[in-house]
């Protein structure tokens, strides 16, 4: 078995207990609601008969272990239970919502990386102006709250300029052009702060690498400066950048909850927020489970990518 394959398998094995802990945590949410969650859910409709019926429907009277087993078995078969209010099966609801959140977060991260990495490199190897401009951008991106930035973008692009719709959504399958039209502002809103973090990390990591002796040796070999910066230094600087991208994905998923609400995008984040406000616990649970799983998978992918970029990482622990 090659060291890389072994590294990937080991990292995969580490993910399983994390997924388990996360699922238990989310499973327990509804059981930790103070008082009787069913009464809270039903509100003024809570007659003893209704309560008993819903308790039975949610299997809340079974032993905890049985409840968890049944729930997780269902989830693994794509059955997430029922929307408590509309009675719709959650699996179908999630199937509509997940692509929206995926599109939003992946496009944002793509944009943030496409802008952030080159800017960070310029900030590290460029002149004084490149450094100042990027420092300003980083401070701006980190300090300004994303949802406020989103509101300001709406104010400018939808209000004043009337270029882009302030909110709403068309699915990509229905109308690809319209879909992107609606996605521009939400993606921009999420991407700015991410790009700022990526610029900061890239700059720091590149500065560290450009000071290392092998850079001098590459120059001594007559390597072109372009190749030194983008082929060698950036590859050496990539591991911390990729790690930060992975961590920032969690922040992005949190931000997506806010941005989906702000722009009325029918994603998982908005589903969770409405679920909480309506005390629709099965929906909240399913939504949280999806987002948390996504987050854990992203961390896994990040670690594997880091291992492939830097052979020292995937070699570690073998022998």
């Amino acid at each position: 078995m090659s060291p890389r394959l072994r590294f990937v398998l080991r990292r995969l094995a580490l993910t399983i207990p994390v997924l388990f802990v996360m699922s238990v945590f989310i499973f327990l949410i509804i059981r930790l609601v103070p008082g009787d969650p069913v009464r809270t859910m039903l509100g003024f409709r809570a007659t003893p008969a209704n309560v008993a019926q819903v308790r039975a429907q949610l299997h809340l009277d079974d032993p905890l272990w049985t409840q968890y087993r049944d729930w997780i078995t269902g989830v693994l078969h794509g059955q997430f239970g029922q929307d408590f209010i509309s009675k719709a099966p959650l699996g179908e609801l999630l199937a509509q919502r997940i692509p929206v959140t995926l599109e939003l977060t992946l496009l944002s991260m793509l944009l943030a990386v496409a802008v952030g990495v080159p800017l960070g490199v310029r900030a590290a190897v460029g002149g004084r102006w490149a450094r100042r401009l990027t420092e300003g951008f980083v401070v701006f991106g980190i300090s300004v709250p994303d949802f406020w930035l989103g509101i300001m973008l709406v104010l400018f692009f939808s209000g004043t300029m009337m270029w882009l719709p302030p909110s709403g959504f068309i699915s990509f399958a229905e109308d690809p052009g319209g879909n992107l039209h609606y996605m521009i502002l939400p993606v921009l809103t999420l991407a700015v702060a991410e790009a700022a973090y990526i610029v900061r990390t890239t700059r720091g990591s590149m500065l560290g690498v450009m000071g290392r002796p092998f850079i001098v040796y590459l120059r001594a070999k007559g390597t072109r400066e372009r190749s030194i910066v983008y082929r060698h230094a950036l590859r050496n600087a990539a591991a911390p950048i990729a790690t930060v991208i992975g961590i920032q994905f969690g922040v992005l998923l949190g931000g997506a909850i806010v941005v989906e609400t702000l722009f009325a995008l029918p994603g998982v984040g908005r589903l969770i927020v409405t679920g909480i406000n309506q005390r629709n616990y099965p929906v909240v649970q399913a939504g949280l489970l999806v987002v948390a799983t996504f987050f854990i998978l992203i961390s896994l992918i990040t670690d594997v990518v880091v291992g492939f970029i830097d052979p020292r990482v995937s070699d570690r622990g073998q022998s």
């Binding site: 001594a220 070999k221 007559g222 060698h232 050496n236 830097d310 052979p311 070699d315």
Partner: protein, 327 residues
């Protein structure tokens, strides 16, 4: 010396330091390296020997000021544009530096790093560069070079890494090789192997080597001639045989006395008393005067460089008297 592949004439390097001051790290050095010759450049750390190597490579820290001439095959390298200099580096002049562990890019395979040295200067296909790199890895003594081509540096020992660095440095048959403390980071047994490898390969190809080291033992093993540097200046140069048998400059003597081998395990090594002068404000006269056992009134004036009958040179007032007497 005529026919020198590398000729350094009155080289001066000033490096800016914080506080708006300058360090005169190299101050009027004249030195030549012939084809196939290994010239040692010895001195304590901070004497300017590595700065001199950097000046020849055109790789000094930003803001440094250089004057004098550096002739490579009689072409002056000073005044080349960045791109012209880049074309020469790794092609006509190559570098082997101190620590092989940190001179290789940890994220690229060793083979790719040798092939890169070729493709930086030769318009050859990837495949041809790869074949040549495998061949070079074999020449420098990497066992099973074809299989090890794709391995990253951290899977090699220090000595093996230095062999890779040497393969990359010699990939384009350079006229001059600057070897800056090439064995300092290695075990003593490996040191000798690497030095002999360097010697064999460069003598065979006619490459002139400037071997920068603080270790006179290294000089004794492989060099033809040697220059001793102190506080930015060459104080003595000559053939290895002459200089070791009859050191002329008091500093050379002190340096020889402080080598461990000279004293076996008997007692304490004699340490040269005093400190290296501050090169932001160097003394007007002889720079070694404050530490010299033979210091004299004349030493307040900079000493002349005196040519000795055997071809050696020394910068010390003591020998003016000798040569005058000889005359």
């Amino acid at each position: 010396m005529t026919g020198a592949v590398l000729q350094i004439e009155d080289l001066r390097v000033r490096i800016p330091v914080p506080g708006g001051r300058w360090v005169g790290a190299v101050d009027g050095v004249t030195l030549a390296v012939g084809s196939g010759e290994i010239v040692g450049l010895v001195g304590e750390s901070g004497c300017g020997k590595s700065t001199l190597g950097g000046a020849v490579m055109g790789l000094l820290p930003g803001g440094s000021e250089v004057s004098g001439r550096v002739l490579l095959d009689e072409e002056d390298l000073r005044g080349l544009t960045d791109e012209q200099y880049r074309r020469i580096r790794g092609d006509d002049i190559a570098l082997v530096s101190q620590d092989p562990a940190s001179s290789l890019d940890p994220t690229f395979s060793v083979g790719a790093q040798v092939a890169e040295a070729i493709r930086n200067h030769r318009d050859v296909s990837r495949r041809a560069a790869r074949e040549r790199a495998v061949e070079l890895l074999g020449i420098v003594g990497i066992p099973d070079p074809r299989a090890r081509y794709a391995d990253p540096p951290h899977r090699f020992s220090g000595g093996m890494k230095q062999r890779v660095v040497i393969a990359a440095a010699l990939a384009n048959d350079p006229a001059v090789l600057i070897a800056d403390e090439p064995t300092t980071a290695l075990d003593v047994t490996i040191q000798a192997q690497i030095l002999h490898l360097l010697r064999d390969l460069t003598v065979r190809s006619g490459t002139g080597v400037l071997l920068i080291t603080h270790d006179l033992g290294v000089v004794a093993q492989v060099c033809d001639r040697v220059a001793v540097m102190y506080a930015g200046q060459v104080v003595e140069q000559g053939t290895v045989r002459d200089l070791f048998a009859r050191p002329l400059h008091p500093y050379t003597r002190a340096l020889l006395d402080s080598q461990p081998a000279a004293h076996h395990r008997s007692g304490d090594l004699p340490v040269i008393p005093g400190r290296v002068p501050d090169l932001t404000e160097p003394p007007a006269g002889c720079r070694f005067a404050s530490r010299c056992a033979h210091v004299h009134d004349r030493c307040a004036t900079a000493p002349p460089v005196i040519g000795m009958p055997n071809g050696g040179q020394v910068a010390c007032w003591l020998h003016q008297a000798v040569t005058e007497e000889v005359r």
